[in-house]
Amino acid sequence: MITKYTSDIFEILRRGQFICSNSPDDDIQTLYKVLEDEDTFENLYEYFYNINYILEQGDEYFYFSRPNEKNIDIERKIEKAFSWIDILDFLKTYDSAFTVGFRFTVSEIHSQLKNNADLKTKLENLKKIGSEKKNYSDRIKKIIEKLEKDNYITLENEITETYKVLTSLNYLIDLINTINIPEEIANEIPE
């Protein structure tokens, strides 16, 4: 046992979640501070490495990865990345300022549907997520829940149902930035 938080850290990261610096959850904040300490980080890195997890530090967040690919098939990864692209595109259409620290509610997005035809079309095209739900509000909720499950956003205020974008979104942004579109293809894409 390296710190008394080791098991807490492990439990969170093992589920593919992030430990973010701007999480509204005090416990996560504490864990982030623990991990921020360089010595602790190095010790924990060694510790987790022995059980086949790599503790990694991103821009204001921590996460686990695996030393070598084992039981993750590429199709699954692509599937996941696709749904992230869809959702992020939808939310960026809602508000281009959708990025780390952004706050929003489902009803705000819902009310935008009336004024923003583009947003509405995109929601209707998001067939894979929440298509079994009939009304828009439920479908938006479903989309938000999916992003919440992947730990990119979190419910900050239960009363007003305000969500907050966590620093882990930087991971997604980095991922998208890493994907390379060859220039001749990029030029063919209409604006």
């Binding site: 990261l13 589920r15 593919g16 996460y63 692509i78 692209i85 994907i179 990029a186 894409i189």
Partner: protein
């Protein structure tokens, strides 16, 4: 076009139409202020509007009214809400100070000299105020633009323009400072005026404050521009990927497969449950364990109890007693009778009265059964006889 004869006339006129003017001022951005609305605010007295039009306080344009530019600018400046940052003032002021310093130095008449000095002092004071004001305006405009402008391209252009303005203000501050400290040394040495000294000091102070503010603004603007650039680039990239994805080209045209195959994050893994077995020691020793078991048991009892499937009740028909009689042949009886005779078995059976109808074939079967069952009690002769096409052995009792 009439002009106001004195301040009193101007102020009373404005005061009388305060309602209309303040309403029009708040709606100055919407451009269309209908004359009908205006009439309501002046108690439907068209003459009052007419008067304002005569003095050019407001203008009429095809049924719409607007406040005249001179007044609008005046109001905006006084109320500190102007969005345009007009820097030509400072520039002109610097020029006129230079001119007046020259006049001052050339003038011999004390009275006139004093007049020039007064103008110079006034202008210096004005420079201080105008510069500070434009810095404050600049800052407010930058923030407004960044937060409220929805179009990314326009936002970027506006911020770039504001950045240019910032450069001009900075330049003007430098000009003013060099005017005070380097260029007109003679003037400042000769004009030993207490008030001038104080004004210059205040001006220096407010200009250095402006410089500090400008540095901060510069930082802010660079940050905003970077954010826009970054965001804009990112959104563009995202849209492109989305487009490729929707066209089913993303896998073939980008390196997404390769990028993802290098990513071994746990987030991509399936969240597996761990079917760990319970510790026997725990179940045995822990007090909570029993509580948990009870709780689980209780939860299970809530579930529907599946009743075993029951077959339909047996109908009464099947339960009624039904008697069926069948006459059975008692071989022992037949044997006893046969033993008492001297006839052979076949003939005996053919003629035996069984108390019921027994056909020839059945009698043959009975013969065979008897012969095999009581083999030891009968004598089998080696001769055969034929009856009804059947060859049979002659069997006698022993």
């Amino acid at each position: 076009m009439k002009t106001f004869n004195n301040i009193k006339e101007l102020v009373t006129t404005l005061n009388r139409e305060e309602k209309l003017l303040s309403e029009m001022f708040t709606k100055r951005k919407s451009l269309n202020y209908k004359k009908n609305y205006a009439l309501e605010l002046v108690d439907f007295d068209e003459e009052r509007i007419e008067k304002l039009l005569q003095f050019s306080v407001i203008r009429e344009n095809g049924g719409f009214l607007e406040i005249d530019d001179t007044f609008l600018e005046f109001f905006e400046q006084i109320l500190d809400v102007n969005e345009e940052i007009n820097l030509s003032y400072i520039n002109e002021n610097i020029k006129s100070i230079k001119e007046n310093i020259n006049y001052y130095l050339e003038e011999n008449n004390e009275n006139r000299k004093y007049g020039y000095l007064k103008f110079i002092k006034k202008t210096f004071r004005k420079i201080g105020i105008v510069t500070l004001k434009s810095v404050v305006d600049l800052r407010r405009n930058i923030e407004n633009t960044f937060k409220n402008e929805s179009n990314y391209k326009i936002k970027q252009l506006k911020l770039e323009n504001l950045d240019e303005k910032r450069m001009i203000v900075k330049d003007l501050i430098n000009q003013t400072l060099s005017l005070i400290t380097n260029e007109e040394i003679t003037f400042f040495k000769t004009a030993t005026d207490e008030e001038l000294n104080r004004i210059i000091k205040e001006l220096k102070y407010s200009l250095s404050e402006c410089t500090h503010n400008l540095i901060e603004i510069e930082k802010q603007i660079i940050d905003y521009l970077n954010q826009i650039k970054h965001q804009g680039k990112f959104i563009e990239k995202l849209r492109k990927l989305k487009y490729l994805k929707d066209q089913f080209l993303i896998l073939s045209e980008t390196d997404i497969r390769q990028v993802l195959s290098n990513k071994n994050q746990v987030i991509f893994e399936k969240r597996s449950t761990e079917p760990l077995n319970l510790s026997i020691d725990f179940l045995r020793e822990n007090e909570n364990a029993f509580e948990i078991i009870k709780r689980v048991a209780k939860r299970n009892s809530d579930k529907l109890n599946y009743k075993p499937l029951i077959a339909e009740s047996i109908s009464d028909e099947f339960l009624e007693d039904s008697i069926e009689e069948e006459v059975m042949i008692n071989f022992d009886e037949v044997r006893n009778r046969f033993v008492a005779t001297s006839d052979n078995l076949f003939n005996f059976i053919m003629t035996y009265d069984f108390l019921k109808e027994v056909s020839f074939d059945e009698r043959v079967t009975i013969f065979c059964q008897m012969a095999s069952q009581y083999e030891n009690e009968f004598n089998f002769e080696p001769e055969f006889e034929v009856n009804n096409g059947i060859e049979y052995a002659l069997v006698y009792p022993k």
